[in-house]
């Protein structure tokens, strides 16, 4: 059941992203947030301001993040591509070759970066590509199957 996040819930989600990636909460002042089980959705404020009774709704806005068992918050690939430019911490810079591997959905070993284990933002030059999971120097790509590059 989709429900609008209240102020406290909103601060908890955005606070977790600010702590992990440096995304200031004010960046999201013009947006609304909804949640259904572990999925968090972002939408324009106007999506929540109108009487939408009578519409057979499939989705509202864009999938923003998923909330894990330990309340960690994992932003989606699409959200990183939109808001990644605000990242100040836990970001991993890839080379061109590593980028190809990452976009194919494959793991990359031997990562040395100023980032702690857990969710990391992946960047190549000026492009924010998506999310990875860093574990003891190994980066696991989190690019969804439908978005992966098929041909190497």
């Amino acid at each position: 059941m989709l429900r609008i996040l209240n102020k406290v819930e909103r601060m908890e989600i955005l606070g977790a992203l600010e702590t992990r990636f440096g995304w200031k909460q004010a960046i999201f002042d013009d947006f609304g947030f909804l949640q259904s089980s572990d999925k968090i959705w972002i939408c324009s404020k106007e999506c929540l301001e109108h009487d939408i009774k009578g519409l057979k709704i499939e989705t509202i806005g864009l999938l923003f993040a998923r909330q894990g068992f330990q309340r960690d918050v994992k932003p989606t690939t699409n959200i990183v591509q939109l808001f990644g430019k605000h990242t100040t911490t836990n970001v991993i810079e890839l080379t061109d070759e590593q980028t190809y591997t990452f976009l194919h959905g494959l793991d990359i070993a031997g990562i040395q970066a100023d980032a702690s284990d857990g969710y990391v933002i992946i960047r190549r030059g000026e492009d924010y590509l998506g999310v990875g999971i860093l574990r003891q120097g190994k980066l696991k790509s989190q690019v969804p199957k439908a978005r992966r590059i098929k041909k190497f």
Partner: protein, 316 residues
């Protein structure tokens, strides 16, 4: 003389456009047989136009701006060792592959940030994502389609483009009239016989027949006469199709004008786009004279797909 298109054009289709266009029909049929140039629209929700142009040109692509747009380009060359769809820029959702004519309806509608808009037959989402960018991800777009598999494509494209201001609905477009929402702008890019898409796929005319055209005309009238009830006073509705059949175009608009005296047809003028006036009569039927303000876009006029666009406004 007509050998090159006899294989994929039904006889009645050929006869119809010989009658509508006269000697010019020869050029029309020739263009219907020619392949289309690939087009892209830069997704300004994520990146600037200059940035994408610079990056693609650096990779060896040659781009030419489509005259009636600010952010869309024809791709002039193929490259043997790379495909546009395999570029990082495509993965990142920095551009959308969209035919040049299909960009016209949102440009005529001009949705603004903070407005309330509905895209009645939205899938797979080229016009929805275009409007979301025009609205800078602000306001509300209700993007509707009744078909589950087409909705899947719509949702994928909205996500990839990063569209935050969209509510996706799955319902009969005519039933939007039963909702409580009133819209500043309505886009009805109606299901149609798709004659104008024959350059992309010659099979587009395989199921074409005068009966199909008639049946679609009935559906289109039903959709238009219902969704117009959700248009605010002073609001704009763009009715468009990718077909050239008058029954699906001017006849549908004429039916609306007969039913609604508070609707007027405004002129469609986009700089750099050649259009023709709407047809005021066809096959024994005379249409409302306002349909001359409708815009017909023939494939040979702008080297594009065929299209039809009408701009309607609700007066006091």
């Amino acid at each position: 003389m007509m050998e090159e298109h006899r294989s994929f054009m039904p006889k009645e289709f050929v006869a119809r456009y010989e009658q509508i266009l006269g000697p010019e029909s020869k050029e029309f049929f020739r263009y219907c047989s020619l392949p289309l140039r690939k087009c892209i629209r830069v997704n300004t929700l994520k990146v600037s136009v200059d940035h994408v142009v610079e990056r693609l040109e650096r990779q060896g692509w040659r781009l030419e701006r489509i005259p009636w747009t600010e952010d869309a380009f024809w791709i002039l060359n193929r490259q043997e060792d790379k495909a546009l769809g395999n570029t990082d820029e495509h993965f990142l959702g920095y551009f959308y592959v969209q035919e040049a004519s299909s960009m016209i309806p949102p440009l005529v509608l001009q949705p603004k940030p903070h407005e309330t808009v509905v895209d009645v037959a939205a899938a797979p989402g080229s016009k929805t994502t275009q409007m979301s960018a025009m609205m800078e991800n602000k306001g509300l777009i209700v993007a509707n389609d009744p078909n589950i598999s087409r909705l899947k494509a719509l949702r994928f494209n909205l996500e990839k483009a990063g569209c935050i201001n969209v509510i996706v609905t799955r319902m009969d477009g005519a039933k939007i009239a039963q909702s409580n929402l009133q819209f500043d702008k309505i886009l009805l890019d109606a299901p149609c016989s798709a004659e104008g898409t024959v350059r992309k796929d010659h099979r587009a005319l395989q199921k074409w027949s005068p009966k199909l055209v008639h049946d679609l005309s009935t559906l289109q009238k039903h959709l238009l006469l219902n969704v117009v009830n959700r248009l605010k006073v002073g609001g704009t509705l763009v009715y468009s199709t990718c077909t050239l059949a008058p029954e699906e175009n001017e006849e549908v608009v004429s039916a609306l004008l007969a039913a609604r005296k508070d609707i007027v047809v405004e002129n469609v003028a986009l700089s750099g786009l050649k259009t023709r006036s709407g047809m005021t009569e066809w096959n024994g039927k005379v249409y409302d004279p306002q349909v001359k303000n409708c815009a017909r876009i023939y494939p040979h006029d702008n080297d594009s797909e065929g299209f039809f666009v009408t701009k309607l406004r609700r007066t006091e």
